[in-house]
Symmetry: C2
Subunit: 347 residues, 2 copies
DNA sequence: TTGTAGGCGTTATCAA
DNA sequence: TTGATAACGCCTACAA
């Protein structure tokens, strides 16, 4: 009666379902939550009434008392298509569950935008998945307020949130090993200016592998900021220096493509004059004019694993998990030596 | 008293603020909503109490009776960096308001994922901004349920939602005019297989401009699917046909870069043998090895305008608005004829 | 201009 | 196993 009243079509509530199924609202709520203590017959009665009436739970009302079945996914920016893979992976993990991921964009990387975090917590999201943040103290504070999993943050010593990461150390080793096997020895790493742990890890892998292969004297890390201007200026400096390298391992594909651009403008042939390796294996690597060798970090796997861990955490797990995904090298033309090696510049 | 009770730190509510400020809860609520009928002195008292206590409104509770100040932004996919500009624009429009945009990814383009829409409406979002959907009937149904603005959908005859669009007709005209001015006449358009209105608009602009310039006999639209395999197969077919064109206007930069790749593999020089123009002016156009002329549609402007319109609609506007953003051509090396024109293939 | 008293739809506690 | 009912925090008549 009550809900068939006024002008606009009233929302179908748990009460309508209860009336239709001839059970109590408490019973319907239990069925809804898959809570303990409902008989199969009751469950099926309720389910068919819900279907018949087209009942949809009111998330705001649920948020008043219990879960919203909403996860907040915080991403640093959108321009690297790699992040789309993370999203795909987390969606895959959520398919078939009641959970829904909603995405917010963090415009203050590497710190997390407090306003965004607050707004997600205010909206009673059940947990947060934060990508690319690196302020450990801040993350610990956030983890005190809500279940938290991070991607792209190697602070695995913490006890309050889970981490999922590409094995960045191994990623750099893969690149170095491949280049050395292809005959390059004077290999520079073009990295970013940042105190991010993923950068530290990858730089460590590069250094260690160079040392391990007896090429420590060639090891050189150059750090640039993200801006195209700075990347290109830095690339030009590297490529025109007297002790210029035979190969450059770049932080991302986007940076690698800029290096190819600068090298091309300088009249250098790739890979004969200079070999280039990127990171992320984005779709732009595959063009004939780029054909960029790159390290593939499975964003899909990272997202999938992270979302699964987050749900476990929401369901009560307290012990932290720290998961590493193995990278994979995809070789293309930019790093295959076609002509005999000339002597290394500084040998 | 009540909220200083038990074990875990209780949430600070409107009631605590009211007590601290020595006013009623209704007064605090009014201040919160910037509603009519609050004295300046009361407002400032309440504001300082909120700040002092660190009060944060409980969005779920607000959603039970009023607004959630949350907008749903539905995007088709992430891989085109152009969408990041839309997000930036909508964030710019929302900065300084109480509104927060939360993003959902639609995996069923060109139809909108009903599950995603429902989940956003269930979460009491105040309005939806849908990008890249084209099922007009479905959009009208959605608009009946919630305030709606679309981007990338030229169904401007509807009376229930607002549309914001790139002027796709003009975008194609810009490309054609530029190519003709650079000496190309046999210009093919490489478009997509789809009944999207943006595609129809752009194809119309292409055809009309070719006709207007007396080049109707050269007008040819080839449609491919989005997959790299199909794009590359189609590009190869176009580039090796006996009546092959002098220039190709491509649906997106990504497609254009693939065409450049195929042309390069075929030993064609760009732009001497074949000129290429893309669309979206993404950051990948700028590399020396690509240097792709492209039409810039201001995603930032599209997002900004759309979010503004959505807020207007939420605040009560009923009359539809349909807004067109002017595109802009950015010329690079891929379309500047360097050598004298040879006779058009089929003249 | 301010205050009081339901009520929004759901969950969870407790009794039956 | 089921049901009655008091919260949850905010909004909005209505009253003062």
């Amino acid at each position: 009666m009550k809900s068939s009243g006024g002008g606009k079509p009233n929302r179908i509530t748990i009460r309508d379902v209860a009336a239709d199924a001839n059970v109590s609202v408490a019973a319907v709520s239990k069925v809804l939550r898959e809570a303990y203590g409902v008989s199969p017959s009751m469950r099926s009665k309720v389910h068919s009434s819900m279907a018949k009436l087209g009942y949809r739970p009111h998330t705001a009302a649920r948020g008043m008392r219990g879960q919203t079945f909403t996860l907040g996914l915080i991403l640093p920016d959108f321009r690297n298509p790699f992040f789309a893979d993370i999203i795909d992976g987390s969606h895959d993990a959520l398919a078939g569950t009641q959970y829904q991921a909603l995405i917010g964009i963090n415009r203050t990387t590497p710190t997390v935008d407090e306003g965004l975090v607050n707004s997600m917590i205010d909206r009673q999201m059940d947990g947060l998945l934060i990508v690319g943040a690196n302020d450990q103290a801040q993350l610990i504070e956030i983890a005190k307020r809500t279940p938290l999993v991070t991607i792209g943050n190697h602070h695995s010593s913490n006890q309050v949130y889970d981490t999922v990461n590409n094995d960045d150390d191994e990623a750099a080793r893969l690149a170095v090993r491949h280049l050395v096997e292809s005959g390059y020895r004077n290999i520079t790493m073009l990295s970013l200016i940042s105190d991010s742990t993923i950068i530290k890890e990858r730089e460590r892998g590069y250094r260690d592998e160079m040392n391990r292969l007896g090429l420590g004297r060639f090891a050189r890390i150059v750090n640039a900021s993200q801006t195209p201007q700075d990347v290109q200026k830095t690339a030009r400096a590297i490529l025109t220096a007297p002790d210029r390298p035979e190969a450059i391992f770049c932080w991302t594909d986007f940076i690698a493509l800029q290096v190819i651009g600068v090298a091309t403008e300088l009249g250098r042939r790739i890979p004969d004059d200079i070999a280039i390796v990127g990171h992320d294996n984005t779709m732009y690597c595959d063009f004939a004019q780029n054909s960029l060798t790159s390290v593939d970090q499975s964003g899909q796997m990272l997202g999938l694993k992270a979302a699964s861990l987050l749900i476990e955490r929401i369901k009560g797990r307290e012990t932290p998990e720290h998961y590493l995904v193995a990278p994979r090298l995809v070789v293309r033309n930019s790093s295959i030596r076609r002509t005999p090696a000339r002597p290394a510049a500084a040998s």
